[in-house]
């Protein structure tokens, strides 16, 4: 089977992915005060990318052949797409949603840095425990739950940094620490996967080869199960961490761009002594 043919045919129109996307769109539309603008375009492209990640050959590769493909999908669903979705929510709408009686309270709680950090980094760790991962690969329902949980925990994880409501955000330096520690969490996991012996995830060792591309992967691309696992671990590790790094750069940039709230009110002109250095001791 040629590569082009594979790319053309390995699409799987999973109904649940479409339903999930529609549900997200519906809840977006139901947000009080949301209207179409640049932000909703960002949200829409997030949804589009999500559906793409779930139905494209990437998903097929990740489920049947390559741990590394799974990991690319994972990074997209957990780190990239939630960021786009979150940035697409208008501030007013989020404010109103947070004011809702019960749902708002739950959202506020989840948006605290500690639960958000634990959910974001936890979903990375828990779903990659080898035994669980293997179970997921065999169980369709669990697989769906996994993919959906990536997106949801991703949104929760980003909330303390990029919440549409400014009051929900951490202070810039605290946000940098939040991101750096999350980066550490994903570094350790990536490191363990990368440097563990091959065969951590047995499902990828001898794939059933439903599309007949295994020999192409193994012989032409030279991706053995060991290399595949390394690439997967490193994908979580390096690009994953670069996303956290870029995010902390954005928080710092935002900080510098905002007006200083903590300026001490000192009347100008006072202490205007011509020669600097001589004024302290009069």
């Amino acid at each position: 089977m040629s590569v082009l043919h594979f790319l053309g045919t390995a699409w799987s129109f999973e109904p649940w992915a479409v339903i999930f996307a529609l549900a997200l769109i519906a809840s977006y539309a139901a947000l009080p005060g949301s209207r179409l603008n640049g932000k909703s375009l960002l949200f829409a492209s997030g949804i589009f990318l999500m559906v793409l990640a779930l139905v494209s050959p990437l998903d097929y590769l990740g489920r049947n052949y390559l741990f590394s493909a799974h990991m690319v999908q994972h990074i997209l669903l957990l780190l990239v797409i939630p960021l786009m979705l979150l940035s697409g929510i208008p501030e007013k709408a989020a404010e109103k949603a947070l004011a809702l009686p019960i749902a708002g309270g739950v959202m506020k709680f989840l948006g605290n840095p500690i639960p958000a950090w634990l959910l974001g980094v936890g979903s990375m760790w828990v779903w990659h425990m080898p035994s669980l991962h293997d179970t997921v690969m065999k169980n369709e329902n669990l697989y769906i739950a996994q993919q959906i949980s990536f997106v949801l925990t991703g949104v929760i994880f980003w909330w303390p940094v990029f919440a549409p409501v400014k009051s929900g955000r951490l202070a810039p330096l605290a946000a940098t620490l939040y991101l750096a520690s999350a980066c550490l969490g994903c570094t350790i996991l990536g490191m363990l996967i990368t440097f563990a012996g091959a065969g951590l995830y047995p499902a990828y060792a001898n794939p059933a080869d439903p599309a007949g591309i295994l020999s192409y992967i193994r012989n032409d691309l030279c991706i053995t199960p060991g290399v595949d696992q390394q690439i997967g671990g490193l994908t979580m590790w390096v690009p994953g961490c670069l996303i956290y790094l870029a995010a902390s750069m954005v928080t710092i940039a935002r900080w510098y761009a905002s007006p200083e709230p903590d300026t001490v009110n000192i009347p100008a002109g006072e202490g205007s002594i011509a020669k600097a250095g001589s004024y302290v001791r009069d």
């Binding site: 390096v238 200083e260 000192i266 250095g277």
Partner: protein, 556 residues
């Protein structure tokens, strides 16, 4: 209504009495950050001379092929001690010492947040160094396993002497001291700033010390744990790093470089900070792109944590791992480049006074760029396969650490010496020092790039008599002698100027940060009154009330 803000910020700790005793005891028992800072500087100067002497002995041995000036054993001890000394007992403590002296002054505080902890850090460093050097006087001699002490060479049965144990113990002690000063710096910077000195206004040196200190806090424990494991191996017979008993030789490398690479940034970031202070003052312009210089520091700090395995491209980690680490390492070039270009842009359009600090500052840019560019080159895996463990690497990191950190240190010493002592260093001797340093340094190390790619391995007490190798090494050795001479001039300059230097006054360079707003040297309590801080350059604002720096620095 006075604009002057009382010295002690509301949240400041009531300080223990700073009343000094007289004589030596006043130093030993001191908890004043300035005295502790000065002690750091004096001790690192002594270690600098020791490390330099070791370097000269190494270069004499290598002056021609087949030389038997030193025995292989002594040679190995010398290069191990040279590397360890220069990194852990010269550059790092010097920068910490300058930080300890200047941080409270620059942010308008009376002392560090924890003065006693500050003294503890210094004494841990001091006795760590003594412990390391004591090994020279033991029967087994100094450690001879390289500053990286790769296992299993550093362990039984390949190192039966106690050298590596002294090494690990000495560095363990001084490492704990470094964590303590990292903690102290972070808390000081975050909580002791005078009103108006917001995080967006702190001098760039303080910014870089903040990132460096965070690195100290998070990175030194990596090597502390590794030292603990190594000591357990050598004392209790544990088997962490002994492959013969189920341990792993590669694990030590991961741990060592997991610390060792960020350590490189611990050595260079405060140097960047010094340069970011010196260049604006002597160019008479504010730093160009303050935000970018500060933010790129954070980026470097974070990136530095994830690139250690580029020291291990020849270990055989697999090409996937190598490629990723290669990419991550190359990315560090970007924030570093941003810094360099901002310094150049700061000088552009200035009215530059090329006094000695600025000479070193300017030379720093060029020398560091050479080291930085070769650094990008060797981040590329195949190039690393060619040059790693050869003299090319020796040249590379000396351009980064000597051409970078040490040039910045010299700039900093000439810049702040008046503040530390109340007297100026001699400009004439300074210029001699500068030119001999530039000539000697480049002569020593530039040629080593060629030796490396021609096939000369590092850490060898002798080498093949191949075409040109002897003469190239001889040139390098002569350069090292010139460098040694320049250091003697530097020391002479310090000794002479301490007694006979021109009195400096409070602000001889007409600089803008708060340390220049008090006497030279500052009184025990630093300031009587701290000037109002309305921008990044408080003393500029005072001198130019008509033209204040906007808060949050506007961009033109």
């Amino acid at each position: 209504m006075s604009s002057r803000i009382p010295l002690v910020p509301e949240n400041a700790v009531p300080l223990p009495s700073l009343k000094a005793n007289n004589g030596l005891l006043s130093w030993v028992s001191s908890i004043d950050h300035k005295q502790i800072g000065i002690m750091y500087l004096i001790i690192t100067l002594i270690y600098f001379l020791l490390g330099g002497l070791e370097a000269l002995l190494i270069r004499v041995q290598l002056a021609h092929p087949g030389n038997d000036f030193l025995t292989p054993e002594l040679y190995n001890q010398l290069f191990t001690m040279h590397g360890t000394t220069m990194i852990f007992f010269v550059v790092m403590p010097f920068l910490i010492g300058v930080g300890v002296y200047l941080l409270p002054l620059m942010i308008g505080a009376r002392d560090m947040a924890f003065p006693r902890l500050n003294a503890l850090s210094f004494w841990l460093f001091f006795f760590g160094g003594i412990l390391l050097y004591y090994s020279f006087f033991t029967q087994s001699g100094a450690p001879d396993v390289g500053w990286f002490a790769y296992a299993p060479l550093s362990e039984k049965p390949f190192s039966l002497n106690k050298g590596p144990t002294y090494w690990a113990l000495g560095l363990l002690a001084s490492g704990i001291g470094s964590v303590a000063s990292g903690l102290n710096n972070v808390v000081t910077i975050l909580t002791m700033r005078t009103p108006g000195m917001t995080m967006r206004r702190i001098p760039l040196f303080v910014w870089m010390m903040l990132v460096t200190s965070l690195l100290l806090v998070f990175v030194i424990p990596i090597i502390t744990a590794a030292f603990a494991m190594m000591l357990l191996d050598s004392i209790l017979g544990a088997t962490f790093f002994t492959p013969a008993h189920g341990g792993s030789a590669i694990l030590w490398q991961h741990f060592f470089w997991g610390f060792g690479h960020p350590e490189v940034y611990i050595l260079i970031l405060p140097a960047f900070g010094i340069i970011s202070e010196v260049i604006p003052v002597f160019s008479r312009k504010p730093i160009y792109g303050y935000e970018f210089v500060a933010a790129s520091t954070v980026a470097i700090g974070l990136l530095s944590l994830g690139v250690w395995a580029h020291h291990m491209f020849a270990v055989g980690l697999g090409n996937a791992a190598n490629a990723y680490f290669s990419l991550a390492s190359m990315l560090i070039a970007i924030p570093t480049g941003v810094k360099v270009l901002n310094w150049v842009a700061t000088m552009w359009g200035g009215r530059i006074n090329f006094a000695t600090p600025m000479l070193f500052g300017t030379a720093f840019i060029i020398e560091f760029v050479v080291g930085g560019l070769t650094g990008v080159a060797i981040a590329s895996v195949p190039i690393d396969w060619v040059v790693t463990d050869s003299y090319f690497i020796v040249a590379h990191f000396h351009y980064a650490i000597f051409g970078g950190s040490v040039f910045a240190i010299f700039a900093g010493v000439y810049y702040w010496f008046p503040k530390f002592t109340g007297r100026m260093l001699s400009e004439t001797l300074g210029k001699w020092h500068f030119w001999l340093t530039v000539i000697g340094f480049n002569m020593t190390f530039f040629i080593q790039h060629f030796l490396g790619v021609m096939g000369m391995p590092r850490r060898t007490y002798t080498y093949y008599d191949m075409p040109y190798w002897g003469s190239m090494n001889l040139i390098s050795t002569i350069g090292a002698m010139i460098l040694g001479l320049s250091v003697l001039i530097f020391v002479w300059n310090i000794l002479v100027s301490l007694r006979h230097g021109r009195p400096a006054g409070d602000n001889p360079w007409n600089a803008w940060t708060l340390e220049w707003a008090t006497t030279s040297p500052p009184a025990v309590e630093n300031f009587e009154l701290v000037p109002p801080v309305r921008g990044r350059r408080p003393l500029w604002d005072l001198a130019h009330p008509d033209m204040p720096d906007e808060p949050g620095a506007k961009t033109v």
